[in-house]
């Protein structure tokens, strides 16, 4: 019961956040200099045609009227026409979003699993050599942008050793499996095509590892510091003084409390991938939403820009709600604190 209330309240807040975001993005997109209709039709189009196109896009109306038209379409899933691809924006998003989501999920799995493992190892062997190795790696990971890793991997594993495919999601000689989820790895399993699965997975490795290294380093650092800090707390001393086996203290009592800050950051890192992935998508020629987003921005493709940013915002909100639920499940102080303040 509390859970449903909590969820309803969070979703209620989110509706306002998303509305606010849409107004902001809409305004910013409109005040950017340049004439989208002129850019779409090219410099040689006659002024009369451009004017008619402006009217078609409602660009001649006041901005709040434009927003109204846009919002009416958006709630029905219609984000208007892309001036760049000349297709419906919703159609473009449907095509490009799954590729990025698949990349994000794969990246997320890598940095969650390995980030926490490295952090735990680092805390377990604090100030010994495994810890030092992890810490040096963490600094490198945090301060190196993902595209640098991307280019390095491309050179190393793509050209020098020729181990992994370098571009796209699937080798050209293979056919895309029937579209069910848009995730090649999942669709190919559904279709029973294991060659495509293996090939898709190989294509995923380099871009997702390149993206994962930064957040992984972050996760490892946070897990390590939270564990070493909690290890000195009195409740660990008390548990030790009560003959509870060390292994149980570590895996149960220390773990649950130490993982809370990591989980909070995990969610943020996961959602940020969507915005940061564009250089990596560019390098690996990954047909994803981030790359699309940059392209449409360069073309001042109003409808598409707004749609891409709204999608990123939506993913952030969903991920944050999920993270809040997990953290509340782990930490009674938050769960009960929220109940009490009601």
């Amino acid at each position: 019961m509390h859970f449903i209330k909590f969820l309803a309240r969070r979703i209620g807040h989110s509706v306002f956040v998303i509305l606010g975001l849409s107004i902001l993005v809409f305004l910013i997109a409109r005040v950017m200099p340049g004439d989208p209709a002129r850019m779409a039709l090219g410099p040689r189009a006659p002024e009369a045609v451009v004017q008619r196109f402006r009217e078609e896009l409602h660009l001649d109306k006041p901005i709040y009227v434009q927003y109204y038209y846009w919002l009416r379409g958006a709630v029905q899933g219609d984000f208007g026409m892309s001036l760049f691809t000349k297709r419906n924006v919703a159609h473009d998003v449907k095509e490009f979003l799954p590729a990025t989501l698949e990349l994000m999920v794969c990246t997320g799995i890598i940095f969650t699993v390995f980030g926490i493992l490295l952090g735990v190892a680092s805390a377990r062997y604090a100030n010994k050599w495994p810890d030092n190795v992890v810490r040096v790696f963490s600094y490198l990971g945090v301060c190196t942008p993902a595209y640098v890793f991307g280019i390095l991997f491309l050179l190393l594993f793509g050209y020098v050793f020729n181990l992994l495919p370098t571009i796209g999601r699937l080798s050209p000689e293979l056919e895309y499996p029937a579209h069910a989820t848009g995730f090649i790895t999942i669709d190919s399993i559904i279709a029973g095509d294991f060659r495509a699965f293996w090939d898709g997975l190989k294509h995923l490795i380099m871009p997702s590892v390149a993206l994962a290294l930064g957040p992984m380093a972050q996760e490892a650092r946070i897990t390590r510091s939270s564990m070493t800090e909690n290890l000195q707390r009195d409740f660990i001393a008390l548990e030790r003084s009560q003959a509870i086996p060390e292994r149980r203290i570590m895996t149960r009592y220390l773990m649950r409390i130490s993982i809370i800050p990591t989980v909070s950051v995990l969610g943020l890192d996961f959602a940020s991938q969507l915005g940061w992935a564009f250089l990596v998508e560019l390098i690996f020629n990954w047909p994803g939403l981030s790359r699309y987003g940059i392209n449409v921005m360069l073309h001042k493709d109003l409808n598409a820009i707004v749609a891409v940013i709204m999608i990123i915002g939506l993913v952030f909100l969903v991920v944050n709600i999920v993270v809040d639920i997990i953290v509340a499940g782990l930490d009674p102080r938050i769960r009960l604190g929220a109940e009490r303040s009601k």
Binding site: R233, D234, L238, S241, Q242, A243, E246, P332
Partner: protein, 326 residues
């Protein structure tokens, strides 16, 4: 004569921190007979808690490191114990009540989770069923006069008051029927009105089971009421020990005298006199007697040499050069 239960000899503990080594315990000596109740007093930061945690081998290491000495429980040296003996020590030998019940209960587990684990691992050989363990948990909570124990088992620490949490910690410490109880300032973090209740409860339970106790505190009133013998600790060393009555009647060490004066008396001027200065920096502790920079009777020898213990009565010892001749 009662049997010797615990004997700490020349215990040294240091903390390796960023910027150097803190020599926190510098040759601590303490002993306690079976059934005896001993007080350990001194300012905050003088090493009382470190001593207690060393006895249980639960100091966080790193940064702490035990660099010398021995802690004998009966005939066994706790510092040389292996994992199995240590587990035995924790389940039946010694238990501890910590200073701050808020910090000593794990905030993300229910009281039931924590208390049943305590009971389970202190009764491993009896192989209790889940239901029996829970029954014991309930009765452990009733023993410390907590109302509605079944509901409390479901609660998380933040749902309970400080006094209730400390009662739970007492229940945990007593659940294992240990031979020695270390109570580390069990009431310092509680409201004054609750302090008396909790102390009374602890006193009753300790009396019932006749448990040997080390009571760490800086409340001299409590020491006077509770203990048979007192150790006075300063900057990682014991500076004086005596039977409680004798110590209050005739304290020898200048530091002990200062402590006594620091107690505000209801009938007196109302202003505590205290001791000027502060506890020394453990990074570069003073040479010789660690108290000499604050001592009103400081002599040349105090700056150079560490005072040995001078016997000033049957069981009254003092580490101060003022008593060299006696």
């Amino acid at each position: 004569m009662a049997r010797r239960l615990l004997h700490i000899r020349d215990l040294h503990v240091r903390f390796d921190v960023y910027g150097g080594t803190l020599k926190v315990l510098n040759g601590v000596n303490l002993h306690l007979d079976e059934g005896e109740k001993v007080g350990l007093v001194g300012e905050t930061g003088c090493g009382k808690t470190t001593t207690a945690k060393s006895i249980l081998r639960i100091l966080p290491m790193p940064p702490a490191k035990i660099t010398g000495g021995e802690i004998l429980l009966g005939k066994d040296d706790i510092l040389k114990m292996g994992i199995r003996q240590l587990r035995e020590l924790h389940s039946h030998g010694i238990s501890m009540i910590f200073q701050d019940p808020t910090a000593s209960l794990n905030p993300v587990f229910t009281i039931g989770d924590q208390l049943t684990d305590t009971i389970r691992y202190s009764t491993v050989e009896q192989k209790l069923t889940k239901r029996e363990t829970k029954k014991r948990a309930v009765s452990a909570l009733s023993d410390v006069s907590l109302p509605d124990p079944v509901r409390i088992l479901e609660n998380y620490p933040i749902q309970l008051s400080g006094g209730m949490r400390q009662r739970i910690c007492i229940a945990m410490a007593l659940a294992s029927r240990s031979r020695l109880l270390i109570a580390d300032e069990p009431t310092t973090s509680l409201d004054v009105t609750i302090q008396a209740q909790v102390l009374k409860l602890l006193g009753r339970l300790v009396e019932e089971k006749d448990t040997s106790t080390i009571l760490i505190t800086h409340s001299l009133g409590v020491v006077r009421e509770w203990t048979q013998r007192v150790y006075v600790m300063y900057a990682g060393q014991m500076v004086e020990t005596a039977p409680t009555k004798e110590l209050f009647h005739s304290p020898f060490h200048p530091y002990t005298k200062g402590l006594m004066k620091a107690v505000p008396k209801l009938t007196g001027e109302g202003v505590a006199l205290g001791i000027s200065g502060r506890i020394p920096d453990y990074l570069n502790p003073p040479t010789g007697c660690r108290f000499h920079p604050r001592c009103p009777h400081v002599m040349d020898v105090c700056r150079k040499e560490r005072p040995p213990y001078f016997v000033a009565g049957d069981t009254h010892e003092v580490a101060c050069f003022l008593y060299r001749e006696k």
